[in-house]
Amino acid sequence: MTVGPITAIQPPREAPDQAGVAPFGPKPRRISAGRIGIYAFLVVAALFFLIPVYIMIVTSLKGMPEIRLGHLFNPPGEPTFQPWADAWLHACTGRDCNGLSPGFYNSVKITLPSVIISIICASINGYALTFWPYKGANLLFGLLVFGAFVPYQVVIYPLIIGLSSVGLFASLPGIIIVHTIFGMPILTLLFRNFYAAIPVELFKAARVDGAGFWRIFFYIMLPMSVPITVVAVILQVTGIWNDFLFGIVFAGRSNWPMTVQLNNIVNTTTGVREYNVNMAATILTAAVPLLIYFISGRWFVRGIAAGAVKG
């Protein structure tokens, strides 16, 4: 019952001898030019997406002398992991030469609490908006959705002033608060749409059974929210890990996340540019979200699709 727009899924068969044979069985299918064109386009596109990262990986495994020879695409003659070790432990940002590792730990310290807090807030928001809309709740939600479109630059300075006034600017709690704030619009939308798809009878039945706001949330809604929570975690972990702007503005020098450290290592090096170390550092920074991407597979796509359904 599945019919393709263009062709059925059958593999092409051997064409019967055309001479005088009545059409019988599947239509003989030549490997058409169109088919070749499709694959050619896809393969070229794939190369466009793959080559830059291929270059990074091979370069990060070469020594500097080999890099200076300029054979960008060649695989490393004598593979070495020294650049990776240097990137992790010894690469310099200005005067400090501790490599990326402090940035990694900072990113972990920022990402974990931010993800947990923002998801807790957003799930309660979505639940309350769907099942307990109080007067003005939808206006608040509208403002929140508006916030998803606002350029960050409009909000950053007031936040700096606000956080400074309570002594949280340039601190770990400060950056966590900032990530919670900017994650809230999209996550609330995500959870609201999810809860809106749950049959309202379930909620009514629980109310008839005498359960209240929190009991319904913890005993009925939360256990049902696993799939959307997975999507939210993927969205937030990659988003926060990849953040640069908030990290550099709000985290403070001692808490700078990995992306900021990476940019500092690469873009402020004085003297000889150690490309291999820089590229190793870049791959290390990208490793966590890439790992999540490849593990989560289709969930990641679902996260994008869900996150994209605005309005």
């Binding site: 599945t2 727009p5 062709t7 899924i9 499709i38 386009f41 896809l42 596109a45 794939a46 466009f48 997406f49 830059p52 300029g70 054979h71 960008l72 928001n125 309350a128 908006l129 307990w132 109080y134 007067k135 709740a137 608040l140 403002l143 929140l144 508006f146 916030g147 479109f149 606002v150 960050y152 630059q153 409009v154 909000v155 300075y157 936040l159 700096i160 606000g162 704030i181 809230m184 609330t188 929190w214 990849n242 953040d243 640069f244 990476l262 873009n267 490309y275 820089n278 590229m279 920074t285 990208a286 890439l290 490849f294 597979g297 990641f300 796509v301 699709a305 994209a308 359904v309 309005g311």
Partner: protein, 298 residues
């Protein structure tokens, strides 16, 4: 009546959403309000309430760096959104041809999106580096006159940013549009085949117009990304060469942090907010009108 009153002010719901109330009002209303307010003051490093009218806006629009930034964002936005949509749509259509290894291709097209824009910027900075990247590689392969160093020249650096943006984001466009394509009733394709309509014509005349929603989603996502483009510029060009790739987002942050000119920075930020407000208001009106039409029709 009484029941609905209790429903409206159910206390736990209000308590549970205190964070939302704080963020929606405190950040997105009061915060933005202050930003706009400060744009009318002579604030330098710290905010003051010494109002100077539109002076900051006049200085802003007299600043060559801002003018270049505004030009750049229009050019970059138009280029990257167009290219991204066209390329993403082509990818989606080609992916929809019952190809083998669909999951593999999908993973390849989408993985750059998982990476930070900082990483993307650095990757392309190197790929286009004249001493290290494509130019050098092709010269080493014997094409000694080959010249391709877009990041070095003020005229071409923006194009390089566009390419990097497409590399990072067109997979997402592809995923959204592919979902849109797959969401179309198979009977439509069958009906078009029975009607004898060529495949390309079916795409152009029937299927693409049916995917308005998916296109709009992808477009909005792109726009939000373009207005916010900051990390990519910082990592790839740092706004250079010179100020050739400066963008409003970069400009405003520089004014706040490095140049300590909050008043003018807030004026810039307010200017960034303006188009967003206009577009939102416009789409809000459209939505409202459509709802009214639907009610009238029903």
């Amino acid at each position: 009546m009484q029941k609905s009153w209790r429903h409206r002010f159910h206390l736990p719901a209000v308590i549970g959403t205190i964070p939302m109330i704080l963020v929606a009002l405190g950040v997105f209303v009061i915060g933005i309000g202050f930003s706009v307010l400060w744009s009318f003051t002579s604030s330098k490093l710290f905010p003051t309430y010494d109002f100077v009218g539109l002076a900051q806006y006049r200085r802003l629009w007299a600043d060559n760096r801002w003018l270049v930034s505004v030009n750049n964002i229009w050019f970059f936005g138009l280029m990257s959104i167009t290219c991204n949509m066209v390329f993403g749509y082509l990818l989606a259509v080609f992916m929809d041809q019952r190809i083998r290894q669909e999951d593999l291709f999908r993973s390849i097209f989408l993985y750059p999106f998982a990476m930070s824009l900082i990483v993307t910027g650095l990757v392309w900075q190197w790929a286009l580096d004249p001493n290290l990247g494509l130019q050098e590689a092709l010269r080493n392969w014997g094409w000694s006159s080959f010249s391709f160093a877009p990041l070095v020249s003020a005229e071409t650096a923006l194009y390089a940013l566009v390419v990097a943006g497409i590399w990072q984001g067109s997979g997402v466009t592809m995923a959204i549009l592919l979902a849109g394509l797959r969401g179309i009733d198979e009977d439509i394709w069958k009906a078009a085949r029975v009607d004898g309509i060529p495949t390309w014509r079916t795409h152009v005349s029937i299927v693409a117009p049916m995917m308005k929603g998916a296109f709009a989603t992808a477009f909005v996502l792109q726009c939000v990304g373009v207005v916010r483009v900051y990390d990519l510029v910082i990592a790839m060009t740092g706004g250079g060469p010179g100020i050739a790739t400066s963008m409003p987002a970069v400009y405003v942050i520089q004014l706040i942090t490095v140049r300590q000119n909050v008043g003018q920075g807030m004026a810039g930020a307010t200017m960034m907010l303006l188009p967003v407000l206009i577009v939102l208001a416009f789409s809000g009106i459209l939505l409202w009108r459509r709802n009214r039409l639907r009610e009238a029709g029903a």
